[in-house]
Symmetry: C2
Subunit: 399 residues, 2 copies
């Protein structure tokens, strides 16, 4: 039998996947498992998007343009203007989810062996996209005691080699919920300019900013606009992760022309998803107000409960719907498995995402988990009750 | 400004793209352009698939399974059984179009620098997927005088080096319309076994076989079943190219596990497309009878007209909806441009796909074009009239 590829061999699997069989077994045993481990919101998709699908009038579901339907790109550029991002339909390529936007961005700009610096903990699938494109990730550690804010520019500079081609940020951040300030982004702007790097910014959680904090997009770093590539997606904005519609945006015409060649090879992004996404741009403001209220309520409740537990430390996230939390346990990989395998509180338990999968530096994150507040407050209450009880009886507790 | 990647620089653009501005200009001048250059059928998508979309009942368009919705995989395995392909839902990964199936297959099995042998002319986007994955394509030339049948096994063996990892076929073939016989596939089976290669088979035109010829799938080469990877798509089968739903199929568990890791990184294939594709499996036989009748009529009419033109040579394709044709001209790239730029017959002209883009060996295909019979017979008649007149007056004609 011929062998599989080296890339397939080193392609990481997230530590959440390892836990899936334990979660399934727990459910088979009749336990109620609260999923705090995933980024699939329970928020309804806007009616205007669902209606567009139901009212579909096409006779042939044909290929769309490789860069995305012109009508959708026009509408999307209108959306961007409402959030102070000035881009034209020609400065974007509609992609199959944010995932493909990242792959196209990496593929168009970097050669195998080139390096990108990413603040850790970071979205675990960046590892997969790095393997796919042959790029090496150099992690720079952010710290829970600084709410996972931007590491110092000095520390970035220490990591820059002649192979360094770019910096990747996720803003607001998955898995920490941190929202980078304009000041932090201005620091990155100077660094990027000094070393002539790319700045890749994953802004799929743009809509989820709390407490009056405003999102500042890298697209507004005018001094480095040819170095900036934004990756985006409608998955979280309109709670329609399954339609696989994202986009890659840049003012740099050479990069966009390069990325489009990869787009042409795969013909086009999903047509039906584009229909839904185009309609979703007209989602009424009341929808977002409702979503905002819901998430704020969940976040406030959850962070309060977490910080009330002895030895637990959670920052107050300013964005997205995650928080990365320190727990008084020996190893969160073991703890998360134990929660599913050996624990229940009144027939209930929780599934957590061990943070080791979000760190690239070996050994880091062993006491941290990512918690997604994608459950309604009733369920969140039960989930917090279970976690609280679990921390009292877990054999590997460190308190 | 930082530079784009080497892959982006060498990523090919198809010669059809080069012609698009000329086609647009011709239309601006009021010419009617018949598109014989593209694989977008005009056949309606089955009603049962469109209805499934219109009747969508979901409240949240959530992520599906990374390998595809279990209900769709089950249904798809039932479809495969109806065409004598015995695969279980676990032996398939639903992909974002056939394109992603090819990328996953290459990525899971081959390292940068590895080689695959592909009979040329071949589907031009294989070049793009090879660049993406770092694989080198070694072309083996098939010949119009043999209807583009399988090149001799001796010629395959001459190309095998220690870097050769596989053979790629497209069956029925795009761009030639050739349908490989069971005998030809048995020859490949022996070769693949002898050198322990992968056999990648793109079978997206399976449903389009004519004159009583039956499709024989590589999945039925039991002797090499661990070496076989089939790539498939619903795009052509149900005329829904835009939904981007394909699949990768193999009995080799190690390959499927490897490919799934790439699938997990990109989260899932498009959900709405999967809804349409699942429903489409129940498309009534009458639909296919109608489609079959339509294509046979188009093919017969078109091939007859082509071969009546002086110096024009077209095989009678046994499958797909393309034929690769020899024309009595100096260079089909020039001819195709001239047709759009400098010619019209009663205000009409045609757009052709120069075959040079389907050959990897430099200089080949200069007298050939691919013609897709995706127009109704009325339009085909006018297109053939235009082509016939064009060949009489083209300055670079060789007759």
């Amino acid at each position: 039998m011929p062998t599989i590829s080296v890339k397939a061999q080193v392609m990481p699997e997230s530590p959440i996947r390892r836990l899936v069989p334990y979660a399934e077994e727990a459910k088979r045993q009749g336990k109620k498992v609260y999923h705090l481990n995933i980024g699939q919101p329970d928020i309804p998709t806007p009616k205007v998007a669902l209606d567009a699908i139901k009212n579909l009038n096409d006779k042939v579901l044909a290929y769309s343009h490789s860069a995305g339907n012109p009508s959708y790109r026009k509408k999307l550029s209108e959306y961007y203007h409402t959030v102070d991002i000035d881009v034209t339909p020609d400065e974007m390529i509609i992609t199959t989810g944010g995932s493909e936007a990242i792959i196209f961005a990496f593929m168009a700009t970097m050669n195998p062996g080139d390096e990108v610096i990413i603040p850790e903990p970071f979205y675990a699938n960046y590892n997969g996209f790095a393997v796919t494109t042959g790029v090496t990730i150099k992690p720079i550690t952010s710290n829970i005691d600084e709410d996972f804010g931007l590491p110092s520019i000095e520390n970035f500079e220490k990591l820059i080699t002649e192979k360094t081609k770019g910096i990747v940020i996720c803003n607001p951040n998955n898995p920490t919920g941190y929202l980078y300030s304009e000041d932090e982004l201005r620091q990155l702007e100077k660094l990027v300019k000094k070393y002539n790097l790319y700045l890749f910014s994953d802004e799929v959680y743009r809509e989820f900013c709390y407490d009056g904090h405003e999102h500042f997009s890298v697209m507004n770093l005018k001094d480095i606009q040819d170095n900036v590539i934004m990756m985006d997606s409608v998955s979280k904005r309109y709670s329609m992760c399954g339609i696989r519609v994202g986009c890659m945006v840049s003012k740099n015409k050479e990069i966009m022309a390069a990325a489009l060649k990869f787009g042409q090879a795969r013909l086009c992004p999903p047509y039906l998803g584009q229909v839904a996404a185009e309609a979703a741009v007209d989602t009424p403001k009341a929808y977002f107000d409702e979503v905002y209220k819901e998430y704020i309520q969940r976040r406030d409740y959850m962070v309060k409960r977490l910080n009330q537990m002895e030895g637990v430390k959670s920052p107050l996230p300013k964005g997205a719907f995650y928080t990365t939390v320190e727990l008084p346990v020996d190893d969160t990989d073991k703890f998360a498995q134990w929660l599913l395998e050996d624990f229940d509180y009144q027939g209930q338990t929780v599934m957590l995402a061990p943070a080791s999968g979000f760190y690239s530096t070996p050994g880091l994150g062993k006491k941290e988990v990512r918690i997604a507040y994608v459950l309604n407050t009733n369920d969140l209450e039960k989930a917090m009750d279970s976690l609280q009880e679990a921390l009292k009886v877990y054999p590997g507790k460190t308190l």
